[in-house]
């Protein structure tokens, strides 16, 4: 339960309020290797501790975290510099069921910062893809300059994924779509058998419903839900959603389990 010290070794600014930091163990101890979709509890001395999905892993125990400035602790993490030491414990929660896409077409829908918890999954899906099965990636954002990891899309395309982008607003120079991810899902060339969805909760609800309209089964749609994760080990109950404790039963949950819960206002 005690955080393991990690040192910041890289810091990449991605837009005005988003930063991706790379961390390696500062000593002999390290957290386990996170599976795509799992999260770490990241601790800032004297400030607080928050859950952050792992957006990348690398050699020497490197973990990457993509963080938006929304509160005191995230602000402190965004403001950390190379050489600073943070604490980490985990990894916690469920992972994206990558193997479920084997032998099937998959649609990955990511909105806003939701690309971060999906980045490792997309990398794994692209690496495992075998013809004729397809990997479709639909990425939405408010504006073109807020698309995360935009420099990796071409590599995913080169590896055989179809990557399409859509934003809420743009000018004529923009080469993607203007509109919503749900609109794109109506296209026949973006149909799949399995879906991974992550983004703002309303966007996930609308996306899941749009996927159901295409004939996808509810138990094949997987979403990543967040609540106020605190202990990370299903003891404190802060992240309760109906019968689920999302730090243990999530963050990745299939839609058939959560659809009735998402229809209750205020949950």
């Amino acid at each position: 339960m005690a955080p393991v010290p990690y040192r910041v070794v890289t810091r990449v600014v991605d837009g005005s309020d988003v930063v991706t930091i790379g961390l390696v163990p500062a000593g002999a101890d390290a957290v386990g290797v996170p599976a795509p979709g799992q999260f770490l509890m990241v601790w800032v001395n004297g400030v607080g501790e928050i859950p952050i999905s792992v957006s990348g892993i690398g050699a020497d125990g490197l973990v990457e975290l993509t963080v938006r400035r929304v509160g005191m602790t995230s602000e402190a993490i965004v403001g950390s510099e190379v050489g600073d030491v943070l604490g980490a414990r985990g990894p916690y929660g469920t992972a994206w069921p990558i193997e479920e896409a084997d032998g099937r077409d998959i649609v990955v829908v990511a909105g806003g910062l939701g690309v971060a918890p999906l980045r490792l999954a997309i990398e794994a899906l692209v690496a495992r893809r075998r013809d004729p099965h397809r990997v479709h990636v639909v990425i939405g954002a408010r504006r073109p300059d807020q698309l995360l990891y935009a420099d990796t899309y071409e590599r995913w395309r080169a590896a055989g994924a179809q990557v399409v982008t859509t934003v809420d607003a743009a000018d004529r120079d923009w080469t993607g779509a203007v509109g919503t991810a749900t609109e794109l899902l109506g296209r026949h060339d973006l149909r799949g058998d399995v879906a991974f969805v992550c983004g703002p909760e309303l966007m996930m609800v609308w996306t899941a419903r749009a996927l159901l309209r295409t004939g996808m089964a509810a138990d094949r749609i997987h979403v990543s839900l967040e609540r106020n994760m605190h202990c990370g080990i299903a003891h404190c109950g802060r992240c309760q959603l109906g019968p689920l404790l999302l730090c243990r039963d999530g963050a990745v949950v299939s839609w058939d389990r959560v659809a009735p819960l998402m229809a209750v206002p205020g949950r």
């Binding site: 000018d171 609109e183 296209r187 966007m203």
Partner: protein
């Protein structure tokens, strides 16, 4: 002058375009008889706001942007339209004038159906009219849903 080859190509395009695919053969032939092919270079206007809504475009290639233009401000791009989608619904409701400007972002190709003839065809053959209007209603519903989703600004700052 429309040649047989052009007519065949238009019928084929209508048979495969998501808006008209699945219509009865007779209905496809009727639509093809009042349609022609159009192409627009990048930057050309496809529709201008408040102009007569005299065409219904089924996009077969290229991207177009639906925009709002006003003096003294930059154009506001509301949505993009892609192959397999349609441009223009103002032709279906009085006073049959275009609501928004639409500009070609790439070279755009469409099958353009004559709107006056299409309204007459829908009046003459209510079964054709029912299918066209049902499909148009689905387009409008999707655009309304999308617009409402964008209004919520889910990617914006938490409120």
């Amino acid at each position: 002058m429309t040649t047989d080859a052009t007519r065949d190509r238009i019928e084929q395009a209508l048979a495969t375009h998501p808006f008209s695919a699945g219509l009865a053969e007779a209905h496809l032939r009727r639509l093809a008889s009042i349609a022609h092919e159009e192409s627009y270079p990048a930057g050309a206007w496809i529709l201008r706001s408040d102009a007569p809504a005299d065409r219904f475009h089924l996009v077969t290639a290229g991207r177009a942007a639906v925009e709002v233009l006003a003096a003294g401000r930059e154009p506001t791009l509301i949505a993009t339209v892609h192959p397999g989608q349609v441009i223009g619904w103002s032709w279906a409701t009085p006073p049959y004038r275009v609501h928004f400007d639409v500009v070609a972002l790439d070279p755009v190709a469409t099958v353009a159906v004559d709107a006056t003839e299409l309204r007459a065809a829908c009046d003459d053959d209510h079964e054709l009219g029912f299918h066209v209007m049902r499909r148009l209603a689905a387009v409008l519903a999707a655009r309304l849903e999308s617009t409402r989703h964008q209004l919520v600004d889910v990617y914006g700052p938490a409120r």
